[in-house]
Amino acid sequence: MSKTMEPDLHEPAAGISRQGGSQNEWKHPSDHWMRGFILDNRASLGTLGVFIVMMAVFMIANPTVFTTWYLYSSVLTTLPVALFVVVPLVFVVTCGEIDLSFPATMGFAAWIFALVVQAGYDPFLGIIAAIVTGMLLGFLVGSLVVYGGLSSLIATLGMNFLLRGLIQIINEGKSLALTGLADSWAYRIFSSQVLGIPVQIFWAVAFVVLSAMLYNRHRFGAQVKVVGDNPDSAQQMGIDVKRVRVKVFVFVGIGAAIAGTFSVMINFTWWPTAGDGYLLPVLASVFVGGTPTWGGIGTVAGGAIGAVTVSFIQTGVVAAGLSGFYVQFFNGLIIILSLLGHKWNQARYR
């Protein structure tokens, strides 16, 4: 697939200037490619700015800790799990919906993975089973919202409790230890280290890049944005609005399944609470990343940078020498400052 997509990657900026230059009819106010790039990526560049400023503050507070590799290594282990759900959530929010059921989907899909592995099957099979589970749960949640005509905020919250409750009832709070996992090929490919770098981050980055391309250079992303922007118009133009909406929930299901599986592989253990702690940091990442709440627009790259920012807050606060009591305060501060920044940075056409 890469061959066919390559030329398109650099098209937008280059395409405009060529078009405008040769025909002298379309002239962009930002003819310089760099200005065009900045205008097109305002939100994600703003997020990057927030991240850099935050890190600078931490580093000034305690320069030595931030030179130790351990700090980054720990972030790079947990960050990928978040990235696999933050990115699909950007699609959901762009589509004008929200999904709060992903923590339970993470736990549920990871549970299926753990069951398959514990039964002695190959972990690859477990991963496939987990992804299929995630897709089915995403389809279930999406159908409930779209065909049931329910508010996605409330319906997905309900589904989160419902699925988590189901896990708790069946497992009675007991965890599953997967001792044999470390010897498997799947573990080596998805969860080991390369040159001291946790290998999950490479998979997560690949996922982010692929998703960003889906968002910006694929029919799916184009239709998600249009549906979030003006569903009436999309319907009129022949887009199956309901199908697109269900698809974004399925996408979250897939992402949550991968995230859940990765979190199990990091710990060699599945807990009935797996995924629970991700709800608020992941949501915060999406909005810190510069995707607005009203739908129609968003940024995958921004969401990813938002996830990096959020996952560095806790580590950074402690590393900077402040006590753990400051973590929540800084979490809130960063979220509020980011939102204010994006409000100032983004034009709203509505």
Binding site: E11, G15, W26, K27, H218, A222, Q223, K225, V226, G296
Partner: protein, 265 residues
């Protein structure tokens, strides 16, 4: 004589025993701009819905290029090349011009990946075709940054991309300033020059008079007047006529032209 694109014969539509349309005849030729004028409740929107196939007429015939069509519906209407541009809610304002033009009909290649440069090329060509050239905007500009008239241009370009033969413009100039209206007229003339037809619907008689080749005045579900441009001397003629239709018995005579004009607006 130009080819007859669509003809409505004796179209009636009743909701229960309330008549929305009572035997309307309307035809549009290729390369013609027909102005459909009528007050609120005259049956304009019912007529548009019948044209776009959303509403089925109670009785009457629809002929496409001279041939009667059976089982008229939205799909048939689209096949016949009829596209309706509604003034509001037609565009996704946070998206680019390109994304709006190709909404639902993205140019895609392998596995659904967008052919971005081809879309830009095609969009530029469409915009040039209707005379929408700008030093300020590119196909990548956000529609929300465009003025009302320019947004109509994007919607018209989209209709042309969908191979429309007849573009139905529903009140395209109602909320627009003079300069913006002029822009829309410019687009309409370009579309006509390209051999396509336009049904221009409005209740501002001056606007319709300026742009249409033929006028159809609708009143309470019936065609009150069909006139060629050459038959009508001025917009005032039309206004006076509509006054007569609206208030039979010479009520129009009680008012001076200025007042009548204002009411017609």
């Amino acid at each position: 004589m130009a080819e007859r694109l669509i003809e409505l014969r004796d179209i009636a539509k009743s909701y229960g025993h309330v008549y929305a349309l009572g035997g309307v005849n309307l035809s549009v030729d290729r390369g013609e701009v027909v102005g459909l004028i009528g007050d609120n409740g005259a049956g304009k929107s019912t007529l548009i819905k019948i044209l776009s196939g959303v509403v089925k007429p109670t009785s009457g015939d629809i002929l496409i290029r001279g041939k009667p069509v059976t089982g008229w519906n939205a799909a048939r209407s689209r096949e016949a090349g009829i596209e309706t541009v509604f003034q509001d809610r037609a565009l996704a304002v946070q998206q680019t011009i390109v994304r709006n033009i190709f909404m639902g009909r993205e140019l895609t290649g392998f596995l659904g990946w967008l052919k971005v440069s081809k879309e830009i090329e095609e969009a530029s060509r469409l915009m040039r075709e209707i005379g929408f050239t700008s030093k300020v905007f590119t196909p990548h500009s956000i529609v929300g940054q465009l003025s009302g008239g320019e947004r109509q241009g994007v919607a018209i370009a989209r209709a042309i991309y969908k191979q429309a033969e007849l573009i139905v413009l529903d009140e395209p100039t109602t909320a627009l300033s003079l300069t913006e209206t002029a822009k829309v007229f410019h687009f309409v003339r370009q579309v006509r020059a390209s051999g396509r037809s336009i049904l221009f619907i409005g209740h501002n008689i001056h606007h319709v008079f300026d742009i249409a080749d033929r006028f159809v005045v609708l009143d309470r579900g019936k065609v009150a007047l069909t006139a060629d441009r050459s038959e009508v001397k001025s917009a005032e003629d039309l206004i006076n006529f509509m006054e007569d239709v609206a208030h039979p018995g010479g009520l129009a005579g009680l008012h001076d032209t200025g007042a009548a004009e204002q009411r017609a607006r």
